[in-house]
């Protein structure tokens, strides 16, 4: 009997390790493919130059780093207030039955493939921006709006979990002291749930910075550092996906090196999310 128990334990351990193993393999592969280029170009030339012409020997990704950051910030500006207010309504103010309908519906948003978001963006949003605000339409703004919507499920569901984890004792105590429901939510429940909400925001950020397909379709992919929200931009992810098809030699290495930079950024985001959650 014990033998069998051991056997199952070992088997499960092996399976668990295989998933971690594939993560390790991916990491090693990206670094082996991309690191030589960073070494030969020099880290400074690679991340502090915005001259990207890989077939002519220029490998500067500054414009893309800036664009990735701006697009992600834009997505936060749009997605976080929407998502957070949605979570507050669902967790604190809505009747149980409404919540039972709304929450699964919002989670359905996460199941829509990103190419569909991108397509809707190209068909609706881009012409609207082009006709009413000017510029080519494919822009930082379009990408931020689409990403802002795409991160909603992440932000909402994790925020709801954080809010519902706050014990009812807190709410009862606050109400008993004569606070209104809104005062209770804003001064007692939100601060108590803050670390969970920050985790939600950081994971939303990770989703936004890693999104590729929808961004390629609506961002315009120009190589400049944007000076307005109506300028087209290219993010790190778009750069890899756009050019990998035809890339060879050093160009291909440069795309993997772009992947390393992206990898480091996302690792930092995820680590800080983990640390903040653990602190609670």
């Amino acid at each position: 009997m014990m033998q069998r128990e051991k056997f199952i334990e070992r088997g499960l351990l092996l399976l668990a390790l295989s998933s971690i193993g594939s993560l390790a393999l991916i990491t090693i592969f990206i670094f082996i493919e991309g690191f030589p280029l960073i070494l030969s170009t020099g880290l400074k030339n690679f991340i502090l130059s915005s001259h990207w012409a890989p077939t002519k020997g220029h490998f500067g990704i500054l414009a893309m780093i800036i664009s990735s950051v701006l697009v992600t910030l834009g997505a936060m500006v749009i997605g976080v207030p929407l998502g957070l207010s949605c979570a507050i309504v669902l967790a604190e103010f809505s009747p149980k039955r409404l919540k039972m309908v709304l929450k699964p519906t919002l989670e359905l948003l996460a199941g829509i493939p990103s190419v569909v978001y991108g397509f809707l963006g190209v068909i609706w949003l881009v012409p609207l921006i082009r006709n009413y605000l000017g510029g080519p339409g494919l822009s930082l703004l379009a990408a931020s709006i689409i990403l802002g919507i795409m991160i909603l499920p992440t932000v909402i569901s994790i925020s709801i979990d954080a809010l519902t984890a706050v014990p009812d004792l807190y709410r009862d105590g606050s109400l008993a002291l004569g606070a209104t429901r809104w005062q209770t939510v804003s001064r007692v429940v939100l601060p108590a749930a803050s670390s969970g909400i920050i985790t939600a925001i950081i994971l939303g950020m990770g989703r936004a910075i890693g999104e590729t397909m929808a961004v390629i379709m609506v961002a315009g992919n120009a190589l400049q550092i944007p000076t307005s929200v109506l300028d087209p931009v290219r993010t790190l992810t778009s750069n890899i996906a756009l050019e990998l098809g035809y890339a060879a030699g050093r160009h291909r290495e440069a795309l993997f090196a772009t992947g390393i930079v992206l990898f480091v950024i996302i690792m930092i985001l995820n680590l800080s999310a983990t640390l903040i959650t653990r602190r609670r």
Partner: protein
């Protein structure tokens, strides 16, 4: 296929580099490329199978019908940014190019840009189709695509007065023409040779023509 039921042809996308890479490393007997071979790749045997014009396209409502090679170069290098320079009502030109490494872009740079770089302000799309889609929807746009893919939703401009028609591409009076290649590590033999002969033969060339390309024979 009807005549060679035993032969297997795998089709894989991924762009010209993927085709060349597969041929170089022996994953495939023949690779297809819409760009010229570079550096190391020149060791491969190249078999030109078709010519393709590169059309410079605008929105159908654009009154422009001809443009000079010089003007195109100035626009794509970023020296000219406004339609007013071409005698149209002033508005920014929404410029669209292809991604670095694309065969169409490489041919365009080679034929038009004469060592100048394409401006980083240009929009970048990763397929002929999406360039066409944007130009079809944007009255102020200018882009370039394979001449075989021009349809009624966009307007191909004449370059120095010559339109990218089949005849003009075939006899090279139209200036922006590139080659499509099959590449191989060794002189094709067996089924491979039969395929190459078929592509270069009347039937194969007819199929290429019906896809909007211009044959080599």
């Amino acid at each position: 296929m009807h005549r060679h039921p035993q032969a297997r042809v795998d089709v894989q996308g991924g762009g010209s580099s993927a085709g060349i890479y597969a041929a170089t490393h022996g994953a495939a007997d023949l690779g297809a490329s819409s760009r010229e071979l570079l550096g190391e790749e020149k060791k491969l045997i190249e078999i030109p199978i078709a010519n393709d014009g590169i059309a410079v396209i605008v929105h159908p409502s654009n009154p422009l019908s001809t443009i000079s090679l010089m003007e195109i170069r100035k626009i794509f290098s970023g020296a000219v940014k406004n339609w007013s320079a071409l005698g149209l009502p002033p508005h920014d030109i929404d410029l669209i190019t292809r991604e670095e490494g694309s065969g169409t872009r490489e041919a365009f740079e080679h034929l038009v840009m004469s060592k100048q770089e394409i401006t980083p302000a240009a929009l970048v799309q990763d397929s002929n189709g999406s360039v066409r889609e944007i130009v079809a929807g944007d009255r102020h746009s200018l882009g370039y695509i394979s001449a075989g893919l021009v349809d009624h939703r966009v307007k191909a401009l004449a370059i120095d007065g010559v339109f990218p028609t089949r005849e003009n591409i075939k006899n090279h009076t139209y200036k922006l023409v590139r080659r499509f290649l099959l590449v191989a590590r060794a002189e094709p033999a067996g089924a491979c040779k039969a395929f190459v002969d078929f592509v270069l033969g009347p039937n194969g060339q007819k199929i290429l023509e019906s896809e909007g390309l211009v044959g080599v024979k």
